[in-house]
Symmetry: C2
Subunit: 141 residues, 2 copies
């Protein structure tokens, strides 16, 4: 028998892979209003709220082990149109719709979830599928 | 000029793509102790803490628009060895090391971050790069 696992607190980092870091960075910083915490030739990291980080990696730049003074980061990489969701307040849904329309970002789809939450879906410049979701989607949200 | 964006609260969902949902599901449920909130032929969704969800999609099952009573979910898909990180308490790092060793999950790398946080890296059954990270990694964590 295996003991119960220690507790997982949250998803800390979600990662996407992009062909142009500056182009993706502008989108997440200017359109979505996320503050960069780190910008280098390999990645941008965005503050998505306390203990919550979006990483945008330059495609191809993470395919080899990264050796750092404190240890190593093993290889990873992604292709395709990845998907992730960001939490927004229900009261901000209309403002987000207006903002995206004003900035020329097409809403590709909308969802009304059985628990009452609502989602907007749109693409980033690399065709990753971004979702903004209000509470009432999952049993834990 | 564009008004400031409404606030993003957190990353709500991070997604991986797997070749065998049951195999991946067992790994995340039994090894990492994450409770499934949804299991169907297309995806498993895991509770990672309040407002924090890991989605494992069957590779290929999300390549077409999904029509639901409440709206639509646009296509997305991923290939490669994706990366994400889960937050753990510093006090649990040793228990996680022991648990992973006991379950035959090889630690592929470790990092000691300049701010004091520590990370463990290992692979899921589909070779996605999973990180367990203690506080002291980012400016917001």
């Amino acid at each position: 028998m295996t003991d119960p696992a220690p507790k997982i607190g949250a998803v800390l980092e979600t990662a996407i892979y992009v062909d142009d870091l500056s182009r993706a960075g502008r989108f997440y910083e200017e359109t979505l209003g996320l503050a960069p915490m780190l910008r280098d030739a390999r990645m941008w990291a965005f503050d998505c709220g306390p203990g919550s980080v979006l990483l945008a990696f330059l495609r191809g730049a993470t395919a080899e082990t990264l050796h750092l003074p404190g240890g190593e980061i093993p290889p990873h990489e992604g292709m395709g149109r990845l998907h992730f969701a960001l939490a927004i307040a229900a009261a901000d849904l209309g403002a987000w719709e207006a903002r995206l329309a004003g900035l020329g970002v097409a809403i590709e789809a909308r969802m009304n979830w059985p628990r009452g939450g609502k989602s907007l879906y749109f693409r980033d410049p690399d065709h990753n599928l971004v979702e903004l979701a209000t509470p009432g989607l999952w049993a834990n949200y």
